[in-house]
Subunit: 590 residues, 2 copies
Amino acid sequence: MQTIINERIAQLRLLLEEYTLGGWIINGTDAHQSEYVAPRWGSRAWISGFTGSAGSVLITATEALLWVDSRYFLQAEEQIAGTEFVLMKIDTPGYPDMNSYIKENITECRWVGIAAETLTISGKATIEAALGKAVELVPIDDLLDTIWTDRPPVPSSKVIQVPDDLAGFSASQKLTMIRAALSQHGADWTIISSLDDIAWLTNLRGDDVPYNPVFYSYALVGREAAWLFTDPGRFSAETAAQLASSFTIKGYEELSAVLNEVIKADDRIYLNPERTSVQVAEAMESNRYVTGRDFTADLKASKNETELEGMRRAHLLDGVALVNFLAKLDTRGGRYTEIEIAGLLAHERERSPEYLGPSFGPISGWAEHGALPHYSATEESNATVRGDGLLVLDTGGHYLSGMTDVTRTILFGEPTEEQQIDYTLVLKGNLALARARFPEGTCGYQLDVLARQFLWQEGRTYHHGTGHGIGFRLNVHEGPQSISPKPLVVPLKKGMVISDEPGLYRAGKHGIRIENVVAVQEDGTGEFGTFLSFEVLTICPFERTLIMKELLSEAEVAMVDAYHRWVSEELKELVDEAALPYLEAATSPL
Amino acid sequence: MQTIINERIAQLRLLLEEYTLGGWIINGTDAHQSEYVAPRWGSRAWISGFTGSAGSVLITATEALLWVDSRYFLQAEEQIAGTEFVLMKIDTPGYPDMNSYIKENITECRWVGIAAETLTISGKATIEAALGKAVELVPIDDLLDTIWTDRPPVPSSKVIQVPDDLAGFSASQKLTMIRAALSQHGADWTIISSLDDIAWLTNLRGDDVPYNPVFYSYALVGREAAWLFTDPGRFSAETAAQLASSFTIKGYEELSAVLNEVIKADDRIYLNPERTSVQVAEAMESNRYVTGRDFTADLKASKNETELEGMRRAHLLDGVALVNFLAKLDTRGGRYTEIEIAGLLAHERERSPEYLGPSFGPISGWAEHGALPHYSATEESNATVRGDGLLVLDTGGHYLSGMTDVTRTILFGEPTEEQQIDYTLVLKGNLALARARFPEGTCGYQLDVLARQFLWQEGRTYHHGTGHGIGFRLNVHEGPQSISPKPLVVPLKKGMVISDEPGLYRAGKHGIRIENVVAVQEDGTGEFGTFLSFEVLTICPFERTLIMKELLSEAEVAMVDAYHRWVSEELKELVDEAALPYLEAATSPL
């Protein structure tokens, strides 16, 4: 492998020479800034052998450099060992960032290339500002296309329709909303690159990447006409016919030609510069941009009543699977592996005919593995679960009517007092956020402390956000809203669905996370305006054996009891008869 | 007056013609971006007759325009009536903002002037970005100097020293800190324009503007030398002699000449572009800036142990005055005016030999006036305080050893249930913020909701920040920290002093605000890092007759009782004997 990597570097250097470039940047994204990319865009791994989810590569005439953040220092070091690659540690003294490195070191042939399809308009501005006049950034067609002879094609999985009666609005109705927004913003066109936005707009779902049911495509919407750029061969005849009333379908690679043809020099184009590539920008005669989040981002974030009803149903089905799973799990004398346990839960989900598959890779972390918030068990790490300890189980499913994401921390054997206190403090935070009421206009960052306050009071904290937006039969991480210490100015709005997942992680010992999904609902209007609050969607008992009741206020005890009563009511007619004793015990009053 | 205003406009227009300018901007700030400006910089009021604290003027060949925000729509309308001025309502449909107006309307003579001393480096960049290439912004000497023949001079009140044993560090020690920061940031010089920063650095206090004990000046600090630019005649011989060991004193207007002389073309200058004027920038041969908050801003924000000890003493003396005042106030049958009541409290403060004067204009708002958070009683508005109702009394004092800012809501007669509930919810917020514990790195915006949560839960809220930084014998509004929904990324640090002042305002009925001053303290270090919490400095009973005890948790009752116990302990040996019965009753357990 090391030899192959070094050969690829050498081939790329020949191209640098041919194109008179002092360097080539590979940022490892796709043309849509997706969280998960299809193998075609696995260019960082192809050139370097490094398989992490983030990192930047720079190849110059003499150097091959890989910048990664601290999560990946060890993994990157191992994976590039024996190759020409040198590890550059991000945010670490002694290591310049990539732009500074370029500025200081590329002093002869002062042009640095990058694949134009992977560079956003904002990204270009940022790099150019950093480079100043020292070096010119040159976005062009991807040089790797020439040397990566077996590069996978743009994926083209079959695409299915979400029926209008599940989506709430037809694609044609959604186009009307987009056109109203265009008109409101004084724009003639909008280009959408973000794949989940296109899936929402078209009521279509694909299978081009794991977990996220998106399909590689672009959408172009004008006041009168709309195009969808994706392999036409992926539609059934029926879907193609239905779609034809709203969109003209063109091939994925025909975007540039159509942009070039239909957009006039003085047209105004609404686009998100953080999602739109310079390749797209360069295909248009006009650069009269109106910039902002994609219209679809806000429309899709606030779920309509039909979508919410579907989300409720998905959570009900998920609750059945969770309780059937928990009832069978032998936490007193059982012996499992982390992967086995995730499989057992997946198996229960699969019993529902409405289940479509996991919404993300399961996190099943036993004991000290639970203290790694983003742990993913591999065959090598796969720990044996038995005896006393905590298991963090963070999983989710796609269903016909919606999507789930749920974390429960499960006790095996006997708890320690520290585990009980930690769990109860995390639970108090989860409850405090869930019961929050707040005026319209409130942003997630304003509520974040509600979930942390009890931990903080005891000198404990966790280092991840408290909540991420959740898609409807779409991506498990969906913007624009979040609940986090990061001051993202996005007000929470009616219909937004978001996770409530405080945690606590003691390195080498145990992890705790309690995650429910909640939906923003209206909660009264009066002298001080309209207020909002959360409706809890997740239906699954908390781990009562980890709750230290004396740490809960009366109101908190009542809240847990009311939640458990509701869980029991919702599920008791639906779970296996064999699961009823567990359900009853797990949901009886504290 | 209307005629005079129109004459001034006409005179300015003659100058526009002479200087070939299409317009002249007056932003109404001084050369230091002070919150309160000396009369010399009252240029907005001089040209327009509008006396509000914020607004922008644009004079063109044909138009005279005044932009104000919604607080001032009515006042501005009245004050400019009968003049050529046209009111432009900020953030109101139908009214372009000033930059847009200029861009669209100044199409012939496309240069717009502004007094260079009132325009910051950042302000210039912002306006220029908005104007694009349409119109050029021309910062020059203030044209008003020519026509404002009786323009007041730069003030030159006597300056006094804060003794080193009250300041904690001598000016020379503070210079050493600045030089360490210069070195750390790789800069050769720093220019300080912010007046309270200079007062802090030099341990000097003036009386150039009301309430804020600052003196008009600039400071220039290099690796070896330092200058203070202010009227040398304002120092006593002793102060001048002491100062001479650290600073070279030059006249206020000599800054440009010295900058021009000492700063070399490749020197690096650390400055705050939001506080430094383009006049200053243009006086230097180098524009190799290192930008950021003034070093002094962060150093001054975190009070040292001596300053904190002084702040505690100031709050003790203030508590004595408050309790003596409250004991004498007849809230059952008395009859006062709002101004009288503020005077009575001021009188009690004046009994302390260490009292120097008010730290801001008192807010004494009876009944519906209390619902105006920034109400200031005038002879016309001065309401009679008698019968049943609430008085919001927000005042503060400068003392030799520190400064106070305290708000109490005082019940006259009998409360309504609504008043009691409102008060108790505000109190719960005040207590929740005061008892917060949080990890190092936490910013004020993360804590803000703690003070709002109980109001929100009941569908109520308030529309101002929860806390502002407080100076040590300096400005009552001091940056950089705050506690507010606005996401200002400034971590709270040990020694920072900040207000805790949630409120509730029912238009036409009553206002409630409860303000204590708190200081950030260290509160333990463990597995999850170092935690901080607040020490309450304000020593004054809450209004127990407004507390609805059944709305408080046991922990809150205990917290109020503990606070009152402490207030009683601190004050009982110091207040008038006649005040003891009040103190005892006001601080007895709930």
